[in-house]
């Protein structure tokens, strides 16, 4: 039971009278990288929010050994961190101030900062190569730099489970790779469990060690990248024509245009 970093049974989230997450079973071993894929509206973001305990859900759920329903927001945020799709950047905040927000779960009653907090902040800033940006305003950063700041903030939470909600959908191809390489490095070094909702199937196949394919709130396939990223299945779920190129680093999903339209 407690061997799983994340465990859910018949997890459901009802939004506006509809089960957007419709009975999901999932066991994730610590240190794994699970890419959650699926068409728009499949429930990827909702599932991420439910796992983080940000929205009410029903069914059995345990994340990092805690149940979001019986634990305070503060306790949850010390075990699970969420990297949002488009982070909100308050005007005028510096990089260091944003990273420091990651220590919120460890704040004392009167909001004072301890030496541990300061040293964690400094070390994640160094680790993610943000030292030169530390006193810069975050609004001046590029998309890729900003995602690094948000990743640093998530790491400052010292989580066991890192949830990524389409972390690279706003980035160009180079920055997508940089951010995902960084996540992979952190996963290996710290044995952090990564669950990432991903839009790009090729990136999911390259970085995920396990792929969960969602459709209409349910799991339709769950397994290794090669097993799940399969042309017929994707064709059915996405309504797309794709070809799969197997590479040693993982499968590559290529969209093919309709024949006879050229």
């Amino acid at each position: 039971m407690t061997d799983s970093a994340v465990r859910c049974r018949d997890l459901r989230v009802n939004l506006g009278g509809k089960d957007v997450v419709d009975g999901i079973d999932l066991d994730v071993t610590p240190g794994d990288w699970v890419a959650v894929v699926g068409p728009n509206g499949a429930g990827k973001t909702t599932l991420m929010h439910a796992l983080a305990g940000l929205i009410p859900s029903t069914g059995e759920l345990s994340v990092g050994g805690l149940s979001p329903r019986n634990s305070s927001r503060k306790a949850m945020s010390a075990v699970v961190a969420l990297m949002p799709q488009r982070p909100v950047v308050p005007e005028g905040s510096t990089v260091k101030e944003l990273v420091a927000l990651g220590r919120t779960p460890y704040l004392r009653r009167f909001g004072t900062e301890t030496a541990t907090d300061r040293s964690v902040i400094t070390s994640v800033i160094e680790r993610l190569d943000l030292t030169e940006f530390a006193d810069r305003r975050a609004t001046e950063l590029s998309g890729g730099e900003l995602q690094r700041v948000v990743l640093a903030r998530a790491l400052a939470q010292e989580p066991q489970v890192l949830l990524l909600d389409e972390p690279t959908s706003a980035l160009d191809i180079g920055h997508q790779q940089q951010v995902l390489d960084l996540v992979e490095e952190l996963r290996e070094d710290d044995n952090i469990t990564v669950i990432a909702a991903m839009h790009d199937l090729t990136l999911a196949g390259q970085y995920g060690r396990r792929i969960v394919l969602l459709d209409k709130g349910s799991v339709v396939a769950d397994g290794t990248p090669s097993a799940v990223l399969e042309a017929d299945l994707l064709g059915r779920v996405y309504g797309a024509r794709v070809e799969i190129l197997e590479r040693p680093s993982g499968p590559i999903v290529v969209p093919i245009r309709q024949e006879g339209t050229r």
Partner: protein, 344 residues
Amino acid sequence: MIKAGISQHRTAVLLGAALILCAALLIGVLVGPAGLTPDRTILELLDGIPGIHIDSGLTATQQAILWQIRLPRVVLGALVGAMLAVAGAAYQGVFRNPLADPYLLGVSSGAGLGATLAIVSGGALGMFGIPMAAFVGGVLAVFATYSLGRSIGGPQNAVVIILAGVAVAAFTNAAQTFVQQRFDDSLREVYSWLLGGLSTDGWSEVLVVLPYVALASAVILVHRRVLDVMAVGDVEAASLGVDPARSRLVLVLAATLGTAAVVSASGLIGFVGIVVPHAVRLVVGPSHRLLLPLSLMLGAAFLVLTDVAARTVLAPAELPIGVVTAMIGAPFFLLVLRRSRVSA
């Protein structure tokens, strides 16, 4: 090295603000017709500290003016200014809205209506009851404003909430005027209160307001980091361990309680809550760790100096202090509106 630099910088900024506040308090005490000189006044003030005895050389009349007229007025001004500025910063933080201000959200008018009802009911609630009645009025007004703004334009729409606040303020002002007309025997009392102003009757107003201001500011200051977290929006704030709905409720109640108490003592004084926090943000940035204590001190200094202006510009006549803050604040408000429109 960097860390030491930043905390030294912070201490220096706080110290600077404290000096500005001391200077403002001193100016507030000195300016006026009684001919108090700085050196003698400082000695007299030191003499007031228990255990210190200095002969300041002030006459008995001058001493009475200092202790029973000037000082209470200056202290009340400082409390009101500090509270309005901190409340403004807190409202701006929880609503993620740079335009929020106790006056513009309708809190002040709601508190005014509550206080008026307490006054016309013949003081049945007693002197300490007026702030409570003002609090109830203020809370009702801020929740009306927020739920109206939310239902019309969504929680993120800064301008719509302010428009809702204008509507709520107009309605409560009308209700307040209506009540005032119906009970014309207490008209004078209500009217002189409503015009605002820091004229005091010895220390009694200060004693009524002080506990509310102390409690409300303490609650807001303890939440300085929570306010920083709330700046990233509800979803991210929740993922960082803050309960946004609960924190918003606690902060709105604290800011409204403090505002209501000072409104019940000083009448409607607008724009302090918008001018001071914004001026501070321009200099030190948006982090509430500096913004809140600086707003507290500089809000106090701002209102004390505004009061000096209000009583000297047309001396011996006195200008209502709300008129002076509005003359400074309204153009400033437009500036903030312009800036927030550009960034939105």
